[in-house]
């Protein structure tokens, strides 16, 4: 049980990592490979259960990797993005979950509806031609079809696309890597959504992968294929500030205007960040809508108990029943956090000390 901290350095193409207090170490040819090795090394040294981990770049050639094992009850799997490349992670078994888990289906549908709303298509009932980037098994596309639109779905996982086909997805499916660019004619697409997929671009899954180049290719091609004034709404799970800034930077460089809409910013689980991008010159349309629950309105964020199967999808949606909303109106203040921390300490967990920063308000970010 505990926290493992590694200092990572690169020289040339190779990365090496050393444990800060201890002698675990590893080296690899990509940060992705390195993280995977470190997770394994830490797990071998301490098998008390699942882990959470974070990889933060300090400078282009150094980084800190932290991995934490937790008690079984609070078990969390490492982010899918560092477990394996997407085309491997989303294998048959994982793809199957996307058809059989009613929870996943419901969550993805809710996010997709919100993304479609944020696309702000003209309210004239005319079907449009849209993209679903990282369409997976077609859950997000289904929302587009239900609203009468035509769509083209991109995904890198054959297994996910097979399931989409089985589910009779109405959009056209392409086996393609968004990091290689979309390969579409300029100005022909009326809007694009992407649900829980773009953060994958931040990981170098192959030795020749360069996340920055891939983000550049993706956003550049997205910008070109959209009609003037069209929007792209990308819901994504960035691992840290560094990633979200990197994603934003490349979107802006491609020419997009826009920003981030965060629904339920105060909830660790229901929180959803949407990058809302507009193609072309700023206009009235460019002003960002507000996130749900931005000003104090709370969305319940109960104990994470009973949920040891972990997904990159949150548990609670933005349309909590009214009753639940009221109960949590006050939210979780500093007092609550301190109480919880004390509780965890008593149970023998390693809990960071209380400081003036504990439970402070954070700026919106994704």
């Amino acid at each position: 049980m505990g926290v493992f901290t590694f200092v990572c350095r690169s020289s040339g193409a190779d990365w090496s990592a050393k444990q800060l207090t201890g002698d675990l170490e590893a080296s690899a040819s990509s940060t992705y490979e390195l993280q995977r090795k470190l997770v394994q090394a830490a797990l071998a040294a301490d098998s008390s259960g699942g882990v959470t981990s974070s990889f933060s770049m300090v400078s282009p050639c150094s980084a800190v990797f932290q991995k934490e094992t937790e008690a079984r009850k609070n078990r969390v799997m490492p982010r899918p993005e560092i477990q394996a490349p997407p085309e491997i992670f989303y294998n048959e078994a994982e793809a199957r979950k996307y058809t059989t888990s009613s929870r996943i289906i419901e969550i993805q549908a809710k996010i997709s509806e919100r993304a479609l709303e944020l696309l702000a298509l003209p309210n004239d009932g005319v079907p449009r031609l849209l993209l679903d980037i990282g369409c997976g098994s077609g859950l997000s596309g289904e929302t587009l079809s239900e609203n009468g639109h035509h769509w083209i779905g991109y995904d890198i996982s054959q297994s996910m696309l097979d399931v989409a086909r089985e589910r009779e997805a109405e959009g056209d499916l392409l086996l393609a890597d968004m990091g290689q660019g979309l390969g579409l004619r300029p100005g022909v697409i009326d809007g694009a959504i992407s649900i829980s997929a773009v953060q994958w671009l931040c990981y170098a899954d192959k030795s020749f992968h360069e996340p920055r180049m891939r983000l550049k290719a993706f956003f550049g091609s997205l910008y070109r294929c959209l009609a003037r004034g069209a929007r792209a709404v990308l819901q994504l799970y960035a691992e840290n500030m560094y990633q979200s800034e990197m994603i934003m930077t490349y979107a802006m460089r491609a020419g997009f205007a826009g920003g981030v809409v965060v629904d339920w910013p105060h909830s660790s689980k229901a929180r959803k960040a949407y990058l809302v991008l507009t193609c072309g010159p700023p206009s009235m349309q460019t002003s960002l809508p507000k996130g749900k629950g931005e000003d104090g309105e709370m969305c319940s964020d109960d104990d994470e108990s009973g949920d040891d199967e972990s997904q990159t999808v949150g548990i609670y949606d933005r349309n909590r029943p009214r009753k639940k909303l009221k109960v949590n109106k006050k939210g979780k203040g500093k007092e609550w956090v301190l109480k919880k921390k004390e509780q965890m300490r008593r149970r023998g967990h390693d809990v960071p000390p209380d400081t003036k920063y504990t439970a402070r308000k954070r700026k919106a970010r994704f």
């Binding site: 004239d124 009932g125 005319v126 079907p127 449009r128 031609l129 009468g148 035509h150 083209i152 890198i156 696309l161 097979d162 086909r165 056209d172 499916l173 392409l174 086996l175 393609a176 890597d177 290689q180 660019g181 979309l182 390969g183 579409l184 004619r185 100005g187 022909v188 697409i189 192959k206 020749f208 290719a217 091609s221 294929c225 009609a227």
Partner: protein, 122 residues
């Protein structure tokens, strides 16, 4: 894959300057009837490369599209029906898309074109 999508796709192999239209080599295709929506057809028409659509339709045995088309034709129900059929009701199941510049083949399996590029094509 419908011809709607074929009409939008362009080969993006590094160094290719004119990757459109991808030549359609169809081995197997199916027809699926869907409701005609005239507003959609009128909206998408200006974005369609007509020659490519007519050519692709011919490649899968549908030769009822005129060689050329202009917006005034959208008033004709008969034209709309043909346009609709070619664009949205014909699905290529097996075959390939071929880059007009490099000849690189992108196979279509079970209706899904494999557009993944090799390392040296990016």
């Amino acid at each position: 894959m419908r011809l709607l999508t074929h009409n939008m796709l362009s080969c993006n192999i590094k160094g290719v300057s004119n990757g459109f239209p991808l030549r359609l080599e169809a081995e197997k295709w199916v027809e699926k009837e869907v409701e005609l929506n005239a507003d959609f057809l009128r909206g998408i028409f200006p974005k369609i490369e007509w020659k490519a659509l007519a050519g692709a339709a011919r490649a899968i045995g549908y030769d009822q599209l005129p060689d050329e088309a202009d917006a005034s034709m959208l008033d004709s129900d008969d034209f709309l029906r043909r346009f609709h059929h070619a664009l949205l009701e014909l699905h290529v199941e097996e075959g390939a898309l071929v880059c007009p510049e490099t000849g690189r083949r992108f196979p279509i399996n079970k209706g899904i074109p494999n557009m993944l590029l090799h390392e040296d094509e990016v």
